[in-house]
Symmetry: C2
Subunit: 233 residues, 2 copies
């Protein structure tokens, strides 16, 4: 694994407070790999053998049942995914696929569990990570149950715009994925965007500009108990 990647991983809150020997051991068992776009990394129902860390690219977590599919999350670098299944040693509840060519580190789940037992700093970080994951899912469920489609889109855009300059920001993924994540069809998303034009949102292709944040906030009523702050830098 590249030295630089190692350092990026070391900086994650999950690994930041490990002792160096424990971290070294964990990395020793891990290996990184570059995957092409649209590759299925994980299929729901399989045993959780690896904790995954996305270093470059992007990964979609999705679920399906019968002939229906839904996007549960998009994981962007640098972040881990499917920690819960690894800790429980249980089958994955979601599938994962690369959206772009991606560099991903695979850490054997057994080693993660071993590190948990041996390194108190890592144990604490694991709990914090899982608890935060839990809380973000609570937010997601609240969002789905309490807001309508237009409100969900507005809230998402406000969240994304936190780190945007005057020239707005670019949607980090295809609109059909965003639609699925927000629990609507692509057609509905398109119409929701159009409806938000009257509430301070300007859109041009993938670039979004919030021209009137106050108006959008008035419509959406953002709420720290529903909308998690972005923690991408």
């Amino acid at each position: 694994m590249r030295e630089e990647d190692r350092n990026d991983i070391r900086k994650l809150t999950l690994f930041r407070n490990m002792t160096s020997p424990a971290f070294d051991e964990l990395m020793h068992a891990a290996y990184d790999q570059v995957f092409p776009a649209q590759l299925e990394l994980v299929r729901q129902g399989e045993a959780a053998n690896f904790l995954h860390v996305v270093l470059e690219g992007a990964v979609e977590l999705y679920a399906n049942w019968q002939d229906r599919d839904t996007t549960m999350a998009v994981v962007q670098p640098v972040a881990t995914f499917i920690l819960a299944a690894c800790m429980r040693d249980a089958p994955y509840l979601m599938s994962a696929r690369t959206l772009q060519r991606s560099r991903i580190v695979l850490i054997p789940a057994v080693d993660v569990r071993a590190a948990f037992s041996r390194d108190p700093g890592f144990a604490l970080a694991t709990v914090q990570e899982l608890a935060e994951g839990y809380r973000s899912l609570v937010r997601h469920a609240k969002n789905l149950k309490l807001r309508n489609a237009r409100e969900r889109l507005g809230a998402y855009l406000l969240q994304r715009s936190d780190y945007a300059g005057a020239q707005g920001f670019v949607l980090p993924q295809e609109k059909r994925l965003l639609a699925s994540y927000l629990g609507m069809t692509p057609e509905s998303l398109s119409r929701a965007f159009k409806a938000l034009r009257d509430h301070g949102v300007h859109i041009d292709g993938m670039r979004v500009t919030i021209t009137d944040p106050a108006a959008l906030k008035a419509l959406v009523q953002t709420d720290s108990l529903l909308d998690s702050p972005l923690n991408i830098p």
Copy 2:
């Protein structure tokens, strides 16, 4: 606290593997209390000062935004709730209220966090509990996004019927709560019940009997990645 209650708590997977001194210390800081029905125990947005354990009665976890409300879960004895907020030392994302007169133990969150650091058995159990909570929320979200109202009700009934005899089982809560939990209105729930009569479900007041499990399963297509097994005895 009553000796019997202490023992019930000790049997929970969360506390089962603690050392006795650590458990004693945790219980020393805790106190139990009986609350009347319909009392708000926790309001969303407040600081998470206590881990709660329901010993008797039932507690609803719900969320609200603007003038809308939704039931997120019903917690039945013996079980804990809001562990994630306690571990993160963050504001509750959900409110909680008693549905019946309930006996509840309150354990100061600081002591829970201290026990986590001191007792490896408890640390492991905490992670398992959080990971399982995470997974059950993933299932809830998948359920909401992938199934329609009738399918959600059918899946819920099949899950509940696992431990039921020939005379069926009694719904553990009011139908309007069940409706809200399943993401629909009481009217829609009522109609969904009626629609399921053609698929092997007989209902009389609060008592439900699955007269033709095969027919219901054919409609609902239960799936271990969507429907969590009940672990009430």
